[in-house]
């Protein structure tokens, strides 16, 4: 039988606020280092066997009130300016979602044989995500402030 839902959870989120994972650990406050193995957090692409390894330096740990929904689907949430999670919407897995030019963005490009993705922070420009995709990139995690998380296969 599952334990009663705990009061607090640790979430890892991007600078755009997007939550990528949530963990509870009775009596402990795990760090980014502990939850990423000092390396990266793996974000799965839905419906196909692909993923993006988000580097630990792109993540921030925050302690929030845990709800069953946050623990079940943390990637539907973002951390607001008040430090509380809010429902930003389900992640999108189709290529080229429309995003507001000039909005704050984080992008992680995943090359197939690399243990950690390549990470950029910037703003959405007319061509799409900031930064240049490295050769051999297979997947992209694209987080734009205020919009649902996007994980795309290239």
């Amino acid at each position: 039988m599952a334990a009663r839902a705990p009061q607090f959870a640790t979430v890892l989120h991007l600078s755009t606020g997007h939550v990528l994972t949530a963990v509870t650990a009775a009596g402990l406050e795990p760090t980014v280092e502990q939850l990423t193995g000092g390396r990266a957090l793996r974000v799965r692409h839905s419906d196909e066997p692909g993923y993006v390894m988000v580097p630990a330096e792109a993540l921030t740990a925050a302690r929030v009130t845990a709800t069953a929904d946050l623990l079940d689907r943390p990637q539907h949430y973002a951390i607001g300016s008040d430090g509380a999670p809010w429902l930003v919407g389900p992640p999108e897995y189709e290529s080229g979602p429309t995003r507001t030019v000039g909005a704050k963005a984080v992008v992680v490009w995943q090359e197939d044989d690399r243990a950690v993705g390549t990470y950029y922070e910037g703003v959405v420009d007319a061509t799409g995500p900031p930064g240049e995709p490295p050769p051999g990139a297979t997947h992209l995690l694209f987080a734009v402030e205020g919009a649902p998380l996007s994980v795309e296969a290239l």
Binding site: A2, A22, T24, A25, T36, G37, L41, Q75
Partner: protein, 385 residues
């Protein structure tokens, strides 16, 4: 030689030797008691204190004194200093010719040189002065003053072993030296002046007189050990008490005579601590962490688990994960059901957990990452950590 006790009889003529043997008997007994039941060192006072001074040229130095106090030397002889005694730099220079002046410069930087200051006993005969008959009629001393004298040593002398007297011997003649502190000298100030004094140097501290005992037994069912005579609030203490079957307590005095326990061992061997236990995990112990974690996360280790010990194999990690199906009302489409497809951890303890939403009777599905409930156990192998 076994102690000899004089016996007197009516009509016997007492000689000087008979009376002297009385004092010698007690003096030897006291010395043997002190030597065999106590360790030598300072028992009270005898601290080096300083007063700042400045030379005519403005150079800063200190005047050093030894405060009044009491010590036992290694022969059991008591060293009593009834008043504060100045420590003379001139005396130092006469006993330590060509001292190394402070500061000394060498390739690694400044080096300070500390010289030990010792106290030792000195028998000084006191001649009779008033010319009266009787015990004071004969020429020669009628008293011996057991004085003390300051002596200086060279660096390293404080660690030199001094000879132990025979088991039946009385107090020594004062050769045994008791360390009371250290001084530094600067020969560039006048003819040489002290610039500092300390109770410890080069890893050596002034020894304090202690007790030698194979057994310490309380008189009322309780024994307490603490670092200072006064039981002030906050003073640490170890208490052995036979109340309620017996206990060993380490704690802090609360200022009203009681010790507030920080660590207790009771008569059944149960250990209670108010803090945390740190250090090597003992054989048979298990650390546990549990909770919920989402796909892609590395499961945290329990608090206190040493990652290096896990890496070396001294600690064994066991992990159990159980799929945590999302709530039905969070389905992408109303009426869908969730089936877990994978729920495991890899060798990095990273969670691989996902499943599929489906609508019964329909082919459309949606694979999504999901969460699991986890239990991480860290245990010690038979060899210990």
């Amino acid at each position: 030689m076994t102690p000899l006790r004089p016996v007197f009889a009516d009509g016997a003529i007492l000689g000087a030797g008979d009376l002297t043997s009385l004092s010698t008997l007690d003096r030897d007994r006291d010395a043997r008691h002190a030597r065999h039941l106590h360790t030598p060192g300072v028992a009270a006072g005898l601290e080096l204190v300083t007063e700042d001074r400045a030379s005519a040229s403005g150079a800063i130095y200190v005047e050093v004194s030894v405060t009044a106090g009491y010590a036992l030397d290694g022969t059991g002889r008591e060293l009593v200093s009834p008043a504060t005694v100045p420590v003379s730099p001139d005396r130092f220079l006469s006993e330590v010719p060509n001292p190394v002046s402070d500061p000394v410069h060498d390739p690694s930087g400044n080096v300070t040189v500390w010289y030990p200051v010792f106290l030792h006993g000195l028998d000084a005969e006191v001649a009779a002065t008033d010319g009266r008959l009787g015990c004071q009629a004969v020429a020669g001393p009628s008293r011996v003053a057991e004085e003390v004298e300051i002596e200086f040593g060279r660096p390293g002398d404080a660690s030199v072993e001094q000879p132990s007297p025979a088991p039946d011997a009385g107090p020594g003649d004062g050769d045994w030296r008791v360390l009371v502190g250290f001084v530094r000298l600067d020969t560039s100030i006048g003819s040489g002046q002290f610039v500092a004094a300390a109770a410890s140097a080069d890893g050596v501290r002034v020894p304090t007189a202690g007790a030698r005992a194979g057994l310490v037994a309380g008189q009322t069912g309780r024994v307490e050990v603490r670092p200072a005579p006064a039981a002030t609030a906050g003073a640490p203490a170890v208490v052995l008490d036979d109340a309620e079957g017996g206990s060993l307590v380490f704690g802090l005095h609360n200022g009203t005579g009681a010790v507030t326990p920080l660590m207790t061992v009771d008569a059944s061997g149960n250990l209670t601590v108010t803090g945390t236990l740190a250090g090597v995990q003992s054989a048979g112990s298990v650390l546990v962490a549990s909770g919920a974690a989402f796909d892609g996360t590395v499961l945290p280790l329990p608090g206190g688990a040493d990652p290096a010990a896990i890496e070396s194999g001294s600690l064994v990690v066991s992990v159990q994960v159980t799929p945590r199906p999302p709530q039905v009302d969070s389905a992408p489409t109303a009426g869908q059901r969730f089936v877990p497809a994978e729920c495991r951890v890899d060798e990095e303890r990273r969670v691989h957990c996902w499943g599929t939403w489906f609508t019964p009777g329909q082919t459309a599905t949606a694979d999504v990452s999901s969460a699991c409930d986890y239990l991480v156990l860290v245990s010690v192998g038979a060899g210990g950590a």
